[in-house]
Symmetry: C3
């Protein structure tokens, strides 16, 4: 079995079969990660460059762990301290790195479409680790694996994605994936962060009332509020956001059933999630992190042509 | 043989037997480091994360070398460019990294007690690489190994620790270790950096006169003056500090016997030590650095449950 | 066969036989880099520290790739976040790292002569990855390999080095190498960047007229304009530099023969080179980058005493 694509640029380009293949492969790698010896020789002799033009602790470390557990050689590149600050174009930077014969590129960039641009110009396999406000496909895949572990399937599971939907690549990749796999999706957040046109653009139901969204769903995937948005009059204060859209224990206990809480991290405790929710037994936030390594191993393995 | 503890948080928690076991194991690894092939497969398949929330060249590199010579996989994390600057809590950062199934965490943090806090919450073995003004246990262990190499024992060796005792985690770990192992210890420095109450708190003799301290001791462990303390009226200037507490060749030659000079580095040449002292044959400063790798290999090995 | 030197500090110290040996070895490694498995076990168990006191994307990554393909263990050290900012002397920093028993040091420093100074004081093999305005020997070696691939030889090939000759370590290393190997060299650029005395100092012909230089040469090695020089009244603006010394397609097409274009990167597109020249089939800029890894593998291998 192989993926229908040579790169992982976004969930938008994947078929339902591709997604199933990645999730099944991830489940196999997850068994490897339970063993005392967590390393497999699959990508021995493959060199992977992690090109992070935006800061990211967890995503970079998650990919690096996935690469090392597949026995790949890794090179880390971060924008600070690079030729990028000398004014080199993105294509020059990447062409230079590729002329050194690397096999795969994991890339995060603040410009939407940056990895798609590169994929047209360079021979190595490219994995999008987040591009602007476009997609973050491995996040959606690890979220999907986490939901499947709870419900045995994605089909028919009701997922509410809550927060700043308009600017979130996590939301967008999740919506594409969940709809392809037959889950039901609504998005919930303040009208300034979910304009009315998004209902049509995304083909999802919009619900501005948090209580109603939570009453409907099986899973609440709560997005991180970007603190820098505060200055942009999209909401007036973190405190107000927390009062209207923050999830606390009292709210969860008022619901007719126990729902599952997800968050892509890092959490703003006391803003979008209260600590006693983040750390409760309804939260699968740390399982998501664990699944991230397995999903990234699966993606790297399937795109490496080593299987 | 095994350590009585699952973590290395501080010397305070170790028994004399623990310390002896670490030092003996370090001596064995030191023999490995003399060979052309300096690598052993002991920690193959173990993943270690180096979490440095404070800058450190030598400690980070020393741990990384120790890890690589034990064949462990290493992931480096430094606070700059991390989610920490996005306001994530320490526990969230570390929990996330641990959900990725790492086996050991080497951690430096500016808050005293940070590694102890984590040890209560996470399953991996934690090694304190320096926490605030509390402890720096691997430094004390490498200092002890260096003294043993000079004197064959720690018992009865007279050690003067000189400088800013009040703020020094190196001093504190050294005092704990030396007293547990039967060495004699005095501390020496300006009264602003060794308040009178410290005599009781540490159960060591305080000597404000440098000449007298040096006449008494076999070993002078000279601490680094933190240049940033200058603004805190604890001493008036670096020049004055040097005049009263700096160690120069003339002073050494006035002593009744040849004493051994140690320094944890990096040295402020011309402040706490003159260059002709730091580079003299009485100085074992570079042996300390060499011993650092062996001691860290020993600690990692003994805490790994692989022996 | 072995090199006549224990370090690679500069091309100045190499014999023509040394240069030939490095280039032949690099050609062999280049064949390895064409294979699906690009790794050889030659430097297994050797530890190399990359000491970069100046920022550099491509040189650091190129060395790191070379090291990993030789199966060496690598430790990266960059000046930011290091004890260097605590005022430690260069020798103390390096002595400390070497006391940890590393085998080789790759070093970039803004001070001309820094690696030569260290080579006198420390036992490890030192490879200069660029020192101030002095030398950048591996760049000259990869340039030479790239020219040989085009012309089969260096002997008699006419090379014009164009740009800021006065401040360029790339120019200086290239001139030494090309003259030792029997190539013909002229330097070309504005009089403020090639003072008249340089003709004698370098024993090369100076040509201030770009058109004439290009008509004469087989290869134009176009240097990067350091944007920070703009404030130094050495030339009035980037636009003026481009008008007089920038290479564009129209200029190339006016020449009697097709010349080869080289550039050490990163390119200032639209300043010293127009994009349609940099990306044309006359440009071998990306081959240079590719050759960089092979040349660095050769240098590391030959200095390791493992052959």
């Amino acid at each position: 079995m192989a993926l229908s694509t040579r790169h992982l640029l976004g969930i938008k380009d994947l078929t339902a079969e591709d997604i199933s293949l990645i999730l099944q492969t991830a489940q196999q790698f997850k068994e490897v990660l339970q063993r005392p010896i967590k390393k497999v020789p699959s990508l021995r002799d493959i060199t992977i460059v992690n090109l992070f033009f935006e800061n990211s602790t967890r995503t970079r470390i998650s990919f690096e762990l996935a690469e090392k557990r597949l026995s790949a050689d890794t090179i880390n590149f971060t924008a600070s301290g690079s030729s990028v600050s000398k004014g080199e174009t993105l294509l020059d930077t990447v062409n230079n790195i590729l002329s050194m014969k690397v096999d795969m590129v994991v890339m995060r960039h603040s410009a939407s479409g940056a990895p798609h641009f590169l994929a047209k110009h360079i021979p190595a396999a490219i994995i999008n680790a987040g591009d602007g406000i476009n997609e973050h496909p491995t996040q959606a895949l690890l979220d999907a694996l986490s939901i499947m572990e709870q419900f045995g399937t994605l089909k028919g599971v009701r997922v509410a994605i809550i927060g700043d939907i308009m600017h979130s690549r996590v939301a967008q990749s999740n919506i594409y994936l969940l709809k392809k796999m037959g889950a039901e999706v609504i998005v919930c957040g303040p009208p300034t962060l979910i304009p009315k046109y998004m209902e049509e653009a995304f083909n999802v139901r919009v619900e501005y009332n948090l209580q109603k969204a939570l009453e409907w769903c099986d899973v609440a995937n709560v997005l991180r509020i970007q603190l820098e948005r505060q200055n942009q009059v999209l909401f007036s204060s973190l405190r107000e956001y927390n009062l209207v859209y923050g999830i606390n224990r009292r709210l969860l206990e008022s619901l007719p059933k126990k729902i599952t809480i997800m968050h892509p991290g890092p959490i703003n405790r006391g803003v979008e999630l209260d600590s006693d929710v983040a750390d409760s037994d309804q939260s699968i936030i740390l399982q998501q992190v664990e699944n991230g390594v397995a999903v990234r191993m699966a993606v790297l393995y399937l795109l490496s042509n080593r299987q």
